[in-house]
Amino acid sequence: MQKQVLDKIRYGNEPHALILCEHPHTITQGRMTKESDLLISPLKLKQLGVSNYSVERGGRITYHGPGQLVAYPVFDLNKFKKDLKFFLWSLEEVIINFLNNFNLEAERKPGYTGVWIEDKKIASIGIAVKRWITFHGLAINLNTDLEYFSFVRPCGLDIQMTSLSRLLGKKIVIDNQLKGKLVDEFKKVFALEIIKGGL
């Protein structure tokens, strides 16, 4: 689906697109993944009902699943700045501003793309670019069952993951209002207007 949108932007003069979703239990392995990043056998994963895919984004291994809000910005960087670092920085900015809504001090960790709170990682980023049009994107742990991250070395690092519900000590409902907050931050950081679609 992201690629269909990308082709429309590439060949059909369509404007930028932003796709929000949640995934079923899935492990994805980005291009830089090492074999040692997966800590469980593929057979065991299958038994647990966790899908496992190699994908063409940057970065290493991660987990996606229910309770995690995933955003795929299919943006034409020809119209912003043809700079991968600028784009990754801007995605971090979106996530940090989104988490500020909950009075949380989220921050960057120099040298480690993503967003962190108290040295634990709450959001991960991995992107791909064709003709300076982006796909793949970011994942923020809201109600994510963090146990599933124990099957992998997230992003190839020995780190702890956290989630919004763990930090706030309550369940977070992923509804349109919450998604709207994330969309608002995208609008602000990238100075975009929503011209069609909706939640």
């Binding site: 291009r31 063409e56 940057g58 991968l84 670092k85 600028f86 791909a128 670019v129 064709k130």
Partner: protein, 78 residues
């Protein structure tokens, strides 16, 4: 012959690794087709072919590091 050169990918990014060649030597490529995929730490970047022709030579293999401005391949225009 057209040299395929790694363009600037962003401020402070000096190198990338070749992750995937979409074509083999001897293949015909069209200008704008995704020729080769490169990766930095958190991003992959698909390099479009700068010309139409035959892919004559790959100067970098999958797994190799490439610096901005380095040549990746040679394309013989037809």
């Amino acid at each position: 012959m057209t040299k395929v050169v790694l363009p600037a990918l962003g401020e402070g990014i000096v190198k990338a690794s070749v992750t995937y060649w979409n074509f083999e030597v001897g293949d015909e490529v069209k200008e704008g087709e995704d020729l080769v995929e490169l990766a930095t730490d958190k991003a992959t970047f698909n390099m479009p072919s700068p010309a139409s022709g035959i892919l004559k030579e790959k100067l970098k293999e999958e797994g190799d590091e490439v610096h901005v401005g380095d040549a990746l391949a040679m394309i013989e225009e037809q």
